[in-house]
Amino acid sequence: MSAGPPAAPVGARLPRLEDPRLVSGRGCFVDDLQLPGMLHLDILRSPHAHARIHAIDAAAARALPGVAAVYTGTGLAQFLRVLPSAGGMEGFNAPEHHALAIERVRFVGEGVAAVLATDRYVARDARELIRVSYEVLPAVADPEAALAPDAPLLHEALGTNRAFEMRIGSDVREALERAAHVVRGRFVNQRIVPNTMETRGAVAHFEPWDERLTVWLSTQAPHLMRREFARFLAFPEHRLRVIAPDVGGAFGAKNNPYAEELLAAALALKHRAPVKWIEERQEHMLVTSHARAQTVELHAGVREDGTLLALHYRLVADMGAYYHAITHIGPMMTAALMTGAYRIPYAATDIVSVFTNTTPTDPYRGFGRAEAAYFIERTMDLIARELGLDAVELRRRNLIRRDEFPFATPTGHVHESGDFQLCLERALERFDYEGARREQARLRATGRCIGIGLTTHAWRAGFPSVPGGKGYVISGWEKTSVSIDPGGTVRAVIGTSPHGQGIVTTTAQIVAGELRIAPRDVRIIHGDTDAVTQGNGTMGSRSLVVGGSATLLAARQLRDKAVRLAAHLLRVPAERVTLEAGVFSDCGDPARRVTLAAVAAHAFAGPQDLPEGLEPGLEATAFFEAPNFTSCFGTHACVVEVEPQTGEVRILRYVAVDDIGRAINPMIVEGQLHGGLAQGIGQALMEEASYDAAGQPLAASFLDYATPRATDLPRFEVELTETPSTVNPLGARGIGEAGTVAAPPAVVNAVLDALAPLGVRHLDMPLTPHKVWRAIREADA
């Protein structure tokens, strides 16, 4: 590296600007807020999966000193609307969903009564004094069972447990008949819990003098929440302010307008007092959206040479008891991406979406795409095994080639660009695939149970808007305004709402790169709808590919104007002006210079001395919407060892090569990959939100729901390739979800490779020691 001026900000491994506050305990999360006269909201929840509510006796609770009010569903219905949800979609069965249950509860954890009290301990005491008499009804937690004609009906008004059915893709029947081999399988992508380390929470405050309601929310989409809260409360949106303070992780689960936060806002309005609600961990396990919960039965038609001809899924998607914001999108996304990175001429998914007596499902890091990758990558291994082909060789024969982009799949997805082989070959080299196979053979001969698994995954990020979208609409555009004050302060106001992704730093790097200044001199504003008037939020790996592109465009516009101003001040044509280290100079005479700050001051101070046609001020706004999803892809490979005596799985090596298009801050990109891998490995090996047949959750705290700890994970070997995307000006690809997309199939493929000699053909996640041990025993018998 050369000495002298600092390295270009874009591409630098810059330590995060967010960190000093957070690392020293000076962050501000929702629960850190304390307002005078604040009331605490606590919710009494159903212990039954399905029951009729006969009576609620809250007299003792109401009589407790410090209790301001107790509400029930029926009481609330007099002044509150039903919850926002996917209900608006045509052809969908849409159950009514209330902030608190009315007459009937449909999953364990559903809110039954709400207590407002002056103190969180008192609110809890009061909650325990409420008596509810229930008539327990038969429940159904398994989606297949819920489809049976005699299954208990969740929503009588709908007359069915089917939420919706849909076919996505081409005709496959004839192609399947033609295929030399048809491989069949059934894969479950199990229900899991997001488990952000900060649970959900809200503080709502109404200021009567200007009739404004402010809601601090642990959310990833303050603007969507502003819209939905206004709708739910029938409160004018322009008097509503939503603030996302520091948010302790979201992963897709803080994108839904939940009952509790809406209730906090409604009660702050009604009681004219600030109201705080903070979710407990056990509540989080019960009522924050669960995720995945998809099962496919598959038929894959394969030609003699191992190339795929046709693929069909029957996909059963568990919605839970109600829809959350975009519950219905999950299976559609899975269907759209079912062919993964492969050239499969005929493909279709028949979706059956079902209501069950369980927690509603909604996005979680990798939403729809993680399921798709899991199904197709497991399918590839199954085919390889049945045809006696090497897993890598099978993939090589089927991968879309770099000269085939843009590539339209039969299920309506377009891979805009890519180089799938590049990641595969890089990963194989780094992993030393041949060597690993030899080593595996050697260790197997000594009795050790070693497996190798890989994925050549393809997914997508940065969704575009859906024209004429109905229901809960999330637009695809993002907005950034970049400005320089007369005093020289550079600001970027961004519509995304980062909460761990490092977007503050990355945005500063992009702006700094355009203005040739230091990233720490760029102030980033986000998350407050009063300061950021429009935006769509942080989700679906869009913050950089879409939001970052808006930032780039705005910063460029700003620079162009500044260059014109500088040229005017230097009395030279704009083409002669160069910008370095915050100083404009005349390239013909570098001694003639003017600083960016002086140019900014002039933009405001000297309107009578501006170039012809130029407005005063120095500010630029750009909206960016991508014409298509950004294609994301990579290859992961891992080695695992199974301990046959205990069923324990250890990951010995994990290599991840993903294409980032263009890395703005490689350190942050790697961090995103690490975090996703941890969550993906968690799903593969330990996480599951299971229910018993009566709908009782079996994992409702960290005691029985395992998220990975430091000792559960290996070191990751991460490498990035950079093949620019064609659908955004940065050329960036999403990375946030790569780990959760790729790790589950990579790890499961490896474990099943290890178990293959023992005769185990398939196991569903999570591959817990008990499950693996049992499979080994059964195969043995």
Partner: protein, 156 residues
């Protein structure tokens, strides 16, 4: 009940309900909100503070149990406006994303720093057994802790 203790080297006296958790006392009465709450079963470690020099989970202790003790929270690790070498290493190594688990993990790591000047990867991972992070995958946390230990050992 009346309690008196030292928090971040400052004397504190307070009248508390016997059932008040130490974490609520710190967060809500003293407004030291850097100590977080991530669970209700003592499993996440987000609430870790030092009590008489030992890393403890403040959600598992009552405020009255800290009577007469010396409590250090994340806010007390370094003088206002400066970073402790551990905190600096966390930033350098990108050992935090959302930052919610971070104060607890830093407090645990600080305990390790005092005990073992050259912990290896496995020891660091084992020391973090009582902490959960959902964002980072731990690798950068391990690296940050190892680097901070080295620096402290070399006295830089």
């Amino acid at each position: 009940m009346k309690i008196s203790l030292h928090v971040n080297s400052r004397p504190v006296e307070a009248e508390v309900e016997p059932r008040l958790l130490l974490v609520h006392f710190l967060r809500e009465r003293l407004r030291l909100t850097g100590t977080h709450i991530g669970c209700d079963t003592s499993q996440c470690g987000a609430c870790t503070v030092h009590l008489d020099g030992c890393a403890v989970k403040s959600c598992t202790l009552l405020a009255v149990q800290a009577d007469g003790c010396e409590v250090i929270t994340i806010e007390g690790l370094a003088p206002e406006g400066t970073l402790h070498p551990l905190q600096a290493a966390f930033q350098e190594h990108h050992a935090l994303q959302c930052g919610f688990c971070t104060p607890g993990i830093v407090m645990v790591a600080h305990g390790l720093l005092g005990r073992d000047s050259a912990p290896g990867e496995a020891e660091i991972r084992a020391a973090l057994e009582g902490n959960r992070c959902r964002c980072t995958g731990y690798q950068n946390i391990v690296d940050a802790i190892r680097c901070a230990c080295e620096r402290v050992r070399e006295g830089t």
